[in-house]
């Protein structure tokens, strides 16, 4: 784990609350606004930031996140600018972990070794690359771990107990549990299943479990936060950002709209009813 990631989850554990992980797409709707949104996220209560690397063909994402990627690309965003954005952010915030999330092709074309060196130097803490399952670990996962970056894996309802060990083997930082089968933003999760799913994964790992896909409101965030180590919100946040735009362009309300929404989610996460820390330690 990177020092930032370790420190952040240790701190959350001390506070006995779940973390809030927020997703935005780098460069959406333009580099300047996106950088301002990024800076606003920790102020509004985000504990970890997932920063989407735009890709033309995001097969596992819904229309909202694809549209965000296309807005960013249309405004001239590219992978080198995502890394520059992280570097600039780090000048003012050296505590909030940043995880880059996206698809393999832009990284492959950039060059794996060069990408890892540049990402590490920029202050990136981890990577989530949706189309790299454990079967392709030699591509990026192993080199990333060697470079000192977390490689965060998605586990899904189709990842059964037989497969979980393989998925978790080279995972570090945290485990991202996708609570529904489907694309991002597609369905409302069945909150009653979150607890048992988190417990199932915890039988296989000591890593923190972040749960995402489908969380849209402070209340939803609170429901998930009662059982998970972190709550991931992506599509709902991009929706708020998109609604603030005028014909795809930023308006004076854009940054504040996102800030306000994240503040609500942060309150939701902090209001979750959780067992006392001692009880939480007492896992099966």
């Amino acid at each position: 784990m990177t020092a930032r990631m370790t420190a952040r989850f240790a701190d959350l554990k001390r506070q006995n609350r779940a973390g809030l992980v927020t997703f935005i797409t780098a460069g959406d709707p333009d580099d300047r606004t996106s950088a301002a949104v990024l800076r606003a996220l920790p102020e509004a209560g985000a504990d970890v930031i997932e920063l989407g690397m735009p890709f033309t063909d995001p097969m596992a994402d819904g229309p909202t996140i694809q549209a965000a990627a296309l807005r960013a690309l249309k405004a001239g965003h590219r992978l080198s600018k995502t890394l520059a954005m992280v570097r600039d952010f780090r000048a003012g915030d050296d505590a909030t972990p940043i995880v880059l999330m996206g698809y393999y092709n832009p990284i492959y074309v950039y060059g794996v070794d060069r990408f890892l060196a540049d990402a590490k130097a920029a202050g990136v803490d981890g990577l989530i690359v949706v189309d790299l399952p454990p079967e392709e670990d030699r591509e990026l996962c192993i080199p990333a771990l060697e470079a000192g970056l977390n490689f965060i894996r998605l586990a899904t309802p189709t990842t059964d107990d037989a497969r979980l060990p393989a998925v978790l083997q080279n995972t570090s930082g945290f485990v991202y549990y996708v609570s529904v089968n489907g694309i991002t933003g597609s369905a409302i999760p069945d909150y009653s299943r979150v607890a048992s799913s988190v417990q199932r994964i915890k039988r296989h790992t000591d890593l923190p479990i972040a749960v995402g896909f489908g969380v849209k409101t402070p209340e939803g965030a609170a429901e998930v936060a009662a059982h998970a180590d972190a709550v991931v919100v992506g599509t709902a946040l991009i929706d708020v950002l998109a609604r603030s735009l005028d014909a795809g362009h930023a308006t004076p309300t854009t940054v504040d709209a996102v800030r306000g929404f994240v503040e609500g989610l942060a309150r939701g996460v902090r209001s979750a009813k959780r067992p006392a820390p001692a009880a939480q330690e007492d896992r099966p």
Partner: protein
């Protein structure tokens, strides 16, 4: 598929991880990974089961109309004044293209796996029609994803799919063509993992699709070997096929890859020209990248963002290509050429008038290359071109380009 395995074989791939050299692989989201592993297991079991092969063979004979003829194109041969040109007539298959060969195999497999819902992507609509046909035949619900732009330009096939009971979903995301249809089909599959089988139309996608689709299409080359032996007492000297994703081509080529004397040509769509932005020649104008589950040559910018392919043929304008072709290109076993929109249109008209065969615009690209290659070869040279689809679907497109004729 029962050819002897020669040393240094080109027919051994992929390896256990689904790689053809550096290409192929399984670049999919975790949600799909267990499904792809299941599919691989089911396909291996089916391959080993003589009952599966017998079922496919029976459908080929009685439903598809196989073997398709190997036809001596006499007037075209005279016109070119060189090689003796044969057409492998896969356009005479039920549904009018080679696509049905693959679809029947996959649908039978889906049923063996207990899947009850079929999804597919389609560009020109030929794979969509073949899938809708097989689903009607076996009573399975079928959803076909098709880019909204393609829905507009391939209307006859949209009607055919609907007649056959399929639901056609126009895809509005991205560039609204084949690659977006594939994205959307993958999204459906990720969402409906329990009951749904994704019937991919070309020899691309995550392992085991490229190998499986190739195996189902290899009937084309296997028949060609036997038919040419019967007609001419020997194997052909050259093979020519068009390439979008490359399933008809790999189907013709694969049984011949280890016959070193045979020249093999794949023909990509050059659109307005390889030196313009408006083409779909991934091998000639692209570079290796990762999309739709496999590493292969792709059309993309220097940031790794996928670019749109262009071709007059909706079946060829995919920005990628099957991974085995990428490997065969790098190995030098297959020579990859390209034909422009104009070349294909000229070949289309020539074929209509000289042979009384209206080809689809896809094989018209292969024919355009034949018109270049055949005159330079001796009269005893035997050249086989895969006539992989018929042109009924394209007559309006062609009429538009020729000014309404």
């Amino acid at each position: 598929m029962n050819e002897p395995i020669l040393p240094n074989s080109f027919r051994q791939g992929p390896d256990a991880r689904g790689h053809f050299g550096n290409y192929g692989g399984r670049f999919v989201a975790e949600t799909l990974m267990p499904l792809i592993l299941d599919l691989e297991k089911a396909y291996e079991a089916a391959k080993a089961d003589p009952a599966f092969a017998a079922e496919i063979a029976s459908l080929h004979t009685h439903y598809v109309g196989r073997p398709s003829p190997l036809y001596f194109a006499e007037r075209l041969t005279e016109h070119c004044g060189g090689a003796k040109i044969y057409f492998k007539r896969d356009e005479l298959n039920h549904t009018g293209a080679h696509k049905i060969n693959n679809v029947l195999g996959q649908i039978l497999l889906a049923m063996r796996m207990g899947k009850t819902r079929i999804i597919a992507e389609t560009g020109a609509g030929q794979h969509g029609v073949a899938t809708a046909t097989a689903c009607a035949r076996f009573g399975l619900p079928c959803v076909v994803y098709m880019g909204a732009v393609d829905v507009e330009r391939q209307k006859p096939n949209v009607f055919r799919m609907k007649m056959l009971g399929a639901e056609v979903v126009p895809v509005q995301s991205g560039a609204r063509t084949l690659k977006d249809a594939m994205n959307e089909a993958l999204r459906d599959w990720v969402t409906n993992v329990d009951d749904t089988f994704y019937c991919i139309g070309t020899a691309a996608g995550p392992h085991p699709y490229p190998a499986m689709v190739r195996d189902f299409q290899s009937i084309i080359g296997t028949e060609t070997r036997a038919q040419m032996q019967e007609r001419e007492g020997r194997l052909p000297d050259s093979l020519v096929a068009c390439i979008g994703g490359g399933s008809n081509a790999i189907g013709l080529f694969h049984p011949f890859l280890d016959d070193p004397g045979i020249e093999i040509f794949g023909v990509e769509a050059a659109g307005h020209g390889i030196d313009t932005k408006a083409h779909a020649a991934s091998l000639a104008g692209g570079k290796p990248g990762v999309l739709h589950g496999n590493r292969t040559y792709l059309l993309m910018d220097d940031d790794g963002q996928i670019e749109e392919g262009h071709s007059i043929s909706a079946g060829l304008d995919y920005p990628g290509i099957g991974p085995e072709h990428s490997w065969l290109k790098d190995m030098g076993r297959v020579t990859y050429l390209s034909a422009t929109d104009k070349g294909a249109l000229d070949a289309f008209q020539l074929c209509c008038r000289l042979e009384g065969i209206i080809p689809a615009l896809e094989p018209a690209h292969a024919l355009s290359a034949v018109l270049e290659l055949a005159p330079k070869r001796p009269r005893d040279h035997l050249m086989v071109m895969n006539m992989c689809g018929r042109g009924d679907k394209d007559i309006f497109t062609v009429a538009d380009h020729l000014g309404g004729m």
